[in-house]
Amino acid sequence: MSLTNKSLAELSQLFRAGEVSSREITEAFITEIEAKDGDLNAFVTTTFDLAREQADSSDSRRDQGALLSPIDGMPITLKDIVCTTEVRTTASSNILRDFVSPYDATIWTKLKEAGAVLLGKVNTDEFTMGASTETSAFGVTRNPHDTERVAGGSSGGSASSVGANMCAASIGTDTGGSIRQPAHFCGCTGLKVSYGRVSRWGTIPMASSLDTVGPLAKTPEDCAMMLQVLAGHDPKDSTTPEKPVPDYLKTLNDPLKGMKIGVPKEYFIDGLDPEVAAVTNSAKEILRSLGAEVIDVSLPHSKYAVSVYYIVGPSEISANMARFDGLRFGTSEGEKDLQSIYEESREAGLGDEVKRRILIGTYALSAGYYDAYYRKAQKVRTLICDDFTKAFEHVDVLLAPVSPTPAFKVGGHGGDPLKMYLEDILTIPANLAGLPGLAVPMGTSKDGLPIGVQLISPGYTEERLLQVGHQMFNAVR
């Protein structure tokens, strides 16, 4: 029996039924990692000794009838910006190459308390700034479906580790599409949660008004199981409201009859790959056959989302990255005075994309340009939010492509930053408005590359997204 191609839900069931131990599941994933990761480079640091120890603990708990949660004993990976006391947290940057956090991220504490087994920390674009993991200081992560191609980004290590059956689930982050786009590229399901639904304490920030933490896994049901563990208020993260956490599994099979699905016409942009459009259109038909009503809607300000994002994001980045001063933690260079320590440490530790975004942000916030860039972007952000509010007066969920194309080739964007920024054109609007989004694998290109579709719903309605995603996915499974 092959274990590694099974979903988290299936593995959990086999484990609870006593048909397989957590140690056996863990060893099966370790074997896959040892066989594949030389080619894929999804892992920055593996934690096999820890994994074996945690798996054995899960097995003892099962024997005593004291399992902690449905994901107890299940092997996962963490994007390497989630702080862990056990091993280094690098953000895939030279400036944190040897950094070991003195505390655990809240979500890592929650996962440990739920009995999860950690296989390793996985690759990302440096400080999550990119759409291909090509900006990682640890090299590019490759796509399990075609190693000439990228796994996407920034959560490329997460998506590659799930897509290549090297773990049962992974934790990623999504600031402008960094969970959904790599999930689409690697044929897995990726959930970007509502802003504030999952604590970010101990997760290294990029753009604080946009960052979210969420799961990638094989199926929407698996993402529901993970979200159940992750979601909720954290006193250490004041952006997490004290809203109740619903039972995300209970409503997965509620009928879709009467549900209204909106398809925003602005998301069918010039340059949208015809195969991506075809898979999105086939998802419309599947939803109709499941009893939902599919109607066209308009989100007229969508086309401005990339500009808004690449002003607001870098502005917040320029502030967040100021903490890397070569004094308190991380790489330090230069000796004679503070100015030289700042500049030389940042020169030695930070890559070009990180610097570019710090520069854009510093420029956009500087005297004389603040109104033209930052304030203007904040206003257009309001109009983008209003578009969604109006659309959700008529529909329950939006259906759209995730990204304009399937996975592109490593080096395919030729160092052109703007071309890379446009990768996020269909995922950014949900981040600007703080809405949840789900990428679900729904088809394959003629070249054998996975194609996903995206669902978006009003804030704090993840259960609705997962319900629609689960049933749509099961129709093509």
Partner: protein, 94 residues
Amino acid sequence: MLTRDELLHIAKLAKLRIPEEKIDKFASDMNQILDFFKDLQEVDTDNVPETSQVTGLENVARPDVIELSKIEKELVECTPHTVEQNMVKIPKIM
């Protein structure tokens, strides 16, 4: 149009040192990106309020009670510099 001198000024504000051979590439990339942002100027934003956050929360406060993190020593020891009396020793500022 961002000039080479303006780029170097911005870099200085951001405590970045751009190597000589990369200055032109950074300037041209920045100009391409700033040019892209021009599309926002066509949007009418008169009387539109700004959105700086989307939580719907305001002034989140907690009881003013001191809690010890119990990792003061570990936090200070993250520094690559010398630690003396639980403080990080850095070069003279003045």
